[in-house]
């Protein structure tokens, strides 16, 4: 029996989460400053990322948006010469304090959708099961359920059900990005970080991904970095405007886009600098 038929039966089955997610944890920073090789990239960032909302971080390129995003899941550790001061809290834990080494759990709770889709060199099934396996889900049946559930969640199931065992690199780039999203969702994160997740996609695929984000915010809190203002205007609930490593303005989309308080924000929105 082909894999997809075996899995199809699991489609509507509900099951208990393998992870104990006790509600939503707050993700916020206090006086976060960050320098790379002595260059200050982020200065005194204090911000809270609201739950079950789409938060867009906007600002000109090179202003530190991506760095801020990478600080949340500590992927910034891969960059060299980084010095961090201040705090980043997820729930009660300061995830940037010295001696904090529970990175794997942080990264499970805060998923990432990368700028360019980067499928792992394994099958479509394997891509989604990978995260669950490393985080301790071993039972075949449970893995099957997870794969079906999250492929459905991102609307890929019907497109790929016949080739679950074939390499993920064979998918189109839009499908790859949705696969990456499903891969992050499969470990049941609370937050999803998206670093210009649609910039490498064609307009149609990027529309699909955008719609997905809007749908997903019921269950997850989404933090997006984007430099297309129109995208932010379309889907953001909450906006953070960063300029030269500093937070200039934060607020709901309506506040920031239609009633900006700060001169820099107004200039940015009117396209004076991009």
């Amino acid at each position: 029996m082909p894999l997809f038929q075996k899995l199809s039966d699991l489609k509507n089955e509900d099951f208990a989460s393998p992870w104990a997610n006790d509600g939503k944890s707050r993700l916020y920073t206090e006086n976060l400053s960050l320098s790379i090789h002595g260059n200050r990239i982020l200065k005194n960032i204090s911000v809270e990322l609201p739950c079950n909302k789409i938060t867009c971080i906007v600002g000109p390129s090179g202003c530190g948006k991506s760095t801020l995003l990478k600080t949340f899941n500590r992927l910034i550790d891969m960059t060299e010469g980084v010095k961090i001061s201040g705090n980043v809290f997820l729930g009660n834990e300061n995830i940037v304090k010295a001696g904090f080494d529970d990175l794997t759990e942080i990264r499970r709770r805060i998923g990432l959708v990368p700028q360019r889709p980067c499928p792992l060199p394994m099958s479509i099934y394997g891509n989604i099961a990978y995260g669950c396996k490393i985080h301790g889900v071993r039972k075949r049946r449970e893995l099957n359920r997870i794969v079906v559930k999250y492929l459905n969640e991102v609307g890929l199931w019907n497109e790929v059900k016949n080739r679950l065992r074939s390499p993920a690199v064979g998918l189109s780039i839009g499908q790859q990005q949705r696969l990456c999203l499903a891969r992050s969702l499969a470990v049941e994160p609370e937050y999803i970080l998206a670093d210009e997740a649609t910039s490498a996609l064609d307009p149609q695929s990027s529309k699909i991904v955008e719609d997905l984000f809007v749908r997903l915010k019921e269950k997850y809190s989404i933090v997006m970095v984007t430099h297309t203002l129109h995208q932010a205007m379309r889907i953001a609930d909450y906006v953070i405007f960063i300029y030269m490593g500093e937070i200039i303005e934060t607020g709901t989309a309506d506040e920031v886009f239609h009633h900006p308080k700060h001169e820099l924000t107004k200039n940015y929105l009117s396209g004076v600098f991009s």
Binding site: M78, R107, P114, C118, P121, Y130, H135
Partner: protein, 275 residues
């Protein structure tokens, strides 16, 4: 000036190609006229070295033993080293660059020095020349080859792949599996490269393995190898013995060419299917 130089270049290129063709042609022609089925399937008989009956199966099997065992041992050392350099250390790490330099240097050390070193160690601990000695020497010899060629591939794994794995919450240990899948073809070609080198090496083995007319049954026995069998038979005065050297040279050449061909095939086949 222009055309003189161009002519010189074409002549040079012709010399290179001609040399390769000439060598292969010579070995094949000479070997083909000497080789018999008996030579590759039988052990040396009585009076083998004065031209009586027998073959060099002992050398073929001995070479295979040494190559297989040392490749296996070499992989056990080199795979962790490659992953340590690429997954555990950062791209611009000082340790990594010193280590790479050291492997480059080790790669350049001639096999006779490996042989002399291993031999001196063996004398020191009271070991005699044996199959084990040959395996250890060859292992030392191919470790830098394995590490260098696998590292070359591992260095080119895109950092996005690491990020993707780490962002899932994978530890470095778990990320190794991902990188492993990505560089599998590279590992295969590295293995072929080192097998080719190991099977053709004579200088290192000469000092540590000895020679025998039988297939070894334990690690402490001496054993024959193909290159040494060629060398010893060629230095014999009898034409019959020399003929067997040419036959053995043909066998060795065919093995090495097949390995080289397979390596090329793997590289081109997999580079087509890469992302």
């Amino acid at each position: 000036m222009e055309w003189v130089m161009k002519a010189l270049m074409i002549i040079s290129l012709a010399v290179v190609v001609f040399a390769a063709v000439f060598i292969i042609f010579t070995i094949v022609k000479k070997g083909w006229s000497c080789i018999t089925w008996e030579m590759v399937t039988s052990l040396p008989g009585n009076g083998f070295y004065i031209g009586k009956s027998g073959g060099f199966l002992n050398a073929i099997v001995g070479s295979l033993y040494i190559v297989l065992a040392s490749t296996l041992l070499g992989l056990i050392v080199s795979i962790p080293a490659v992953f340590y350099l690429n997954v555990f250390l950062k791209k611009s790490s000082k340790i990594a660059s010193v280590a790479r330099l050291a492997y480059d240097v080790l790669f350049g050390i001639p096999s006779i020095v490996y042989g002399a070193f291993a031999f001196s160690i063996m004398i020191f601990i009271g070991m005699r020349t044996s199959l084990l000695g040959g395996i250890i020497t060859t292992t030392l010899l191919i470790i830098p080859i394995l590490i260098r060629s696998m590292d070359e591939v591992a260095k080119n794994v895109p950092s996005e792949l690491y990020e993707a794995s780490f962002a899932m919450g994978a530890t470095r240990t778990e990320t190794i599996r991902i990188v492993l899948r990505q560089i599998l073809p590279g590992i295969a070609t590295a293995i072929l490269l080192s097998v080719g080198r190991a099977i053709g090496d004579a200088a290192g083995i000469m000092l540590t393995t000895g020679f025998s007319d039988t297939i070894p049954t334990s690690l402490t026995q001496q054993t024959a190898t193909l290159p040494l069998s060629i060398f010893f038979q060629l230095t014999a005065p009898q034409a019959e013995v020399q003929d067997r050297a040419y036959a053995a040279a043909l066998v060795l050449t065919i093995i090495v060419l097949l390995i080289s061909l397979l390596g090329r095939f793997i590289t081109s086949y997999f580079s087509k299917n890469k992302i």
